[in-house]
């Protein structure tokens, strides 16, 4: 390299870094008050609410609303429906639709429109039928009557699930394609364009519940937690959904940001196969006793989790303190349990063995939630100490769904919402209810306990809330006694915004994020 070339290179590099440093200092402080930018996690590929779980996105982005809304204790509150009541047969529900509510195209929301919307959901979504079934729906002015096929004590809660958001079916008949153009809902914002990577919304000119603060909302999908945090720091977005444990300290107690945090209804749990080596309850108990859940929540996840114990999180109030979990963290105890079943390290390779076979288990985790992989690694390290080998297999979320059904795993971690309808029966049933003739397809683990099934059937059909409450607590105790699964922890959820943001509120169900109350000061 000649002398002048060398100088040229040094000069170029230096000027580039100088420009880079100045670039960092340039910030657009005068944020546009008419535009809101939200860094979100994007999992929906269209805005068709009946597809997959995409309805969650429609409600989160303030496009769609449901008949019933959940408050911070997961109680039901009026939204599109003003009030409701159930007849003496407990199967006839009467909902009064709020007279003020209009769709974003200006059309009034009548009971007939709600009926058509619900029928559309049942027609297009397989998932709808797992919530409830109806014999017929009557519409008369603003009065909607739903005749269900059996008793559903929690029907209003079920209708609060985003899947049952109310859309204008008439507009679809007139040619609007919900998947491409977004549905016509009743929320404060209307989609103007949508891809998996980016959603653009504008104010709903016909919004029924007050003024809409922003003319435009942009929601880039920033799925990587670091990038999301940096986008918030640099001012690319005004607020971000879920800051990861690694960046937690940068925002919490920082006056430049509004940090809203609450316990979620999620349970990060590890499903255990009840087949192979894990058919032995001692081994399942050892797997529970072998891990230090307190340290995971405190140190590894920097207090963004509450350490796990029971299937349902403490925020739900189903006897979290009351249920007894044996198998507290104790590596000695875990080793003893393994030895009782004949698993001892005879060949000195560090892993316990029996009949010449080391105890090595396949542990499945997925990429979209980084905290799960942290858990997986920490557990792997802890299990090594008691002589159990773990093969971590990181797969796509879609694979997890298949594995859950086939049961082709030893251990499988997932982050699950336990009460998306305000009631945990559906959650408890689908993961541990006996899977006879595909009744609970998500329970591929092979777990089955008739007493447990009975309790859930009772909790799901009785109109007496105390009976239901006690049955759910007893059912949890059975899962704990049977060592059915490992409940690692309950994540807190957070929404973080620049300090000029007002009205940021985390709801435990995670459905309401971009609301009419979000404003810039």
């Amino acid at each position: 390299m000649k002398q002048w070339q060398r100088w040229l290179m040094v000069g170029t590099l230096m000027s580039m870094s100088i420009i880079g440093f100045f670039g960092c200092g340039l910030q657009f402080n005068d944020h546009d008050k008419d535009v809101l930018k939200v860094g979100a996690i994007g999992f929906a590929s269209t805005l068709e609410p009946t597809e997959n779980y995409f309805s969650w996105v429609v409600v989160r982005y303030g496009i769609g609303e449901t008949l019933v809304k959940f408050n911070d204790t997961m109680g039901t509150e009026p939204w599109i429906a003003l009030k409701w009541s159930v007849g003496d047969d407990n199967q006839t529900w009467t909902f009064t639709i709020n007279d003020k509510v209009t769709f974003s195209n200006g059309r009034k929301v009548t009971a007939q429109a709600v009926k058509e919307s619900l029928e559309r959901t049942f027609e297009k979504s397989q998932r709808a039928k797992t919530f409830f079934n109806y014999d017929r729906i009557e519409a008369n002015g603003q009065t909607l009557i739903i005749h269900t096929d059996k008793v559903y004590p929690n029907l209003p809660g079920l209708l609060g699930d985003p899947l049952f958001l109310i859309v204008d079916v008439q507009s679809e008949r007139e040619g609007r394609n919900f998947a491409v153009d977004g549905p016509i809902g009743t929320g404060p914002y209307v989609a103007t364009s949508f891809t998996k990577e980016r959603a653009e919304l504008e104010a709903n000119k016909h919004y029924w519940d007050g003024t809409v603060p922003f003319k435009r909302v942009e929601v880039p999908a920033i799925n990587d937690a670091n990038t999301r945090a940096m986008a918030l720091q640099s001012g690319d977005v005004d607020m971000a959904i879920n800051i990861g444990p690694g960046e937690y300290d940068l925002f919490k107690d920082n006056k430049d940001y509004v940090f809203e945090e609450s316990s979620s209804l999620r349970d990060v749990m590890v499903r255990m196969s009840q087949n192979g080596a894990l058919a032995d309850a001692n081994i399942r108990a050892a797997l529970i006793a072998g891990i230090d859940r307190e340290s995971y929540a405190k140190t590894l996840l920097k207090d963004t989790f509450i350490a796990g114990k029971a299937p349902l999180p403490p925020s739900l109030g189903y006897g979290f303190k009351q249920v007894k979990a044996s198998n507290q963290y104790s590596p000695e105890n875990a080793r003893k349990l393994l030895a009782q079943s004949g698993w001892v390290d005879t060949d000195g390779d560090g892993y316990v063995d029996k009949d010449g076979q080391d105890l090595v288990l396949d542990f499945y985790t997925y990429t979209s939630r980084p905290e799960l992989n942290l858990y997986a690694e920490a557990m792997q390290a802890d299990y090594k100490k008691i002589g159990i080998g773990i093969n971590i297999k990181i797969v796509d979320y879609s694979v997890i769904d298949e594995l859950a059904k086939s049961g082709a795993y030893d251990l499988m971690i997932s982050s699950v919402v336990t009460a998306n309808t305000g009631n945990p029966v559906w959650f408890l049933k689908q993961y541990w209810g006996s899977n006879i003739d595909g009744a609970n397809p998500n329970n591929g683990s092979g777990y089955s306990n008739p007493r447990y099934d009975e309790l859930l059937a009772l909790a799901g059909s009785t109109m007496d809330s105390t009976t239901a409450h006690n049955a759910i607590i007893s059912a949890q105790q059975i899962l704990l006694d049977d060592n059915a699964a490992i409940y690692l922890g309950y994540p807190k959820i957070n929404l973080v915004g620049k300090n000029y943001m007002k009205g940021i509120h985390t709801s435990p169900c995670e459905y309401y994020i971009i609301t009419k109350d979000l404003k810039k000061e």
């Binding site: 980084p370 690694e377 920490a378 390290a381 971590i392 990181i394």
Partner: protein, 273 residues
């Protein structure tokens, strides 16, 4: 010896540096100051200190020790992949070049197909389908990399084949295998080996890249690319988790590239003063 060192000063320096890396890899268990494998969450995410020079990671493992152990894997992977690639490429290239005709056409078109793919993307696809593991990484990168050597060896073989000593061997009735083994391959090997050496560094980066993306080494293996990925979640609060593995890759790959560059100068007769 002294004269040789005098003549190839740079090569000597780089060789010494490279030998230090090999030494670190071989004696990792004795050199590592802390625990590279066992978690101790009471020590998690500690900043670099006198006790832990490079800090500790999220499970409380000593980062310096993990980097030292990581040398083993990087070196092993880099060298193994190159050996596999060079072996496959040399055999296919030599056969194609020597026999010509349809054999050559088929083998070289196959090589062309492989070369038409962007290498890393194809490796990601292969490792993705097979699942992440050290063996699959070697397989994926070898499948992608052999074609370059096949083309190189083929053109060299075509040239060597014209030489009179090959014609003489044919006339003396030597078998094809003997001619390939005794006359052709030994004559093209020096160039192939120097090209291969240049690739060791590149392969180390690709292995780290695949591991970073989750297609290579799996936790808890101390592998630099994997460590980078693990540290990514703590980039702003615990930057040492990414800085030190990144530096290690930079330093080791640079040394290998410089060494192989100077090796070429030593081997290539044109550069002899």
């Amino acid at each position: 010896m002294a004269e040789c060192i005098q003549k190839h000063k740079l090569f000597t320096i780089y060789s010494v540096l490279m030998l230090i890396i090999v030494f670190i890899a071989v004696f990792a268990p004795w050199l590592a100051p802390g625990d590279a494998f066992n978690s101790d969450m009471t020590k998690a995410l500690q900043a670099p200190s006198a006790q832990h020079w490079f800090g500790t990671d999220k499970l409380g493992r000593d980062v310096l020790s993990r980097i030292i152990y990581g040398t083993q894997l990087s070196l092993f992977m880099g060298v193994t992949i190159v050996v596999v690639m060079v072996s496959i490429g040399t055999i296919i290239g030599a056969v194609a070049g020597y026999f010509g005709g349809k054999v050559e056409m088929v083998l070289m078109r196959l090589a062309d197909i492989m070369l038409s793919f962007p290498g890393v993307v194809l490796a990601i696809a292969i490792a993705g389908i097979l699942g992440g593991s050290i063996f699959n990484t070697i397989l994926a990168l070898s499948i992608v990399g052999w074609a370059k050597y096949a083309r190189l060896v083929r053109s060299m073989t075509l040239k060597v084949r014209q030489e009179e000593y090959v014609t003489a061997a044919v006339m003396m009735g030597a078998s094809t295998w003997t001619i390939l083994r005794r006359h052709i391959i030994p004559n093209i090997l020096p160039l192939v080996v120097t090209t291969g050496a240049l690739d060791i560094g590149a392969m180390m980066i690709e292995v780290a890249g695949l591991s970073f993306l989750g297609f290579g080494a799996q936790p808890p293996t101390p592998e630099w690319g994997l460590m980078l990925n693990e540290g990514r979640q703590y980039l702003q609060t615990s930057p040492w988790l990414m800085a030190f593995p990144g530096l290690s890759i930079l330093i080791v790959v640079s040394i290998f590239n410089l060494w192989s560059d100077s090796l070429r100068d030593v081997v290539d007769p044109k550069n002899e003063g």
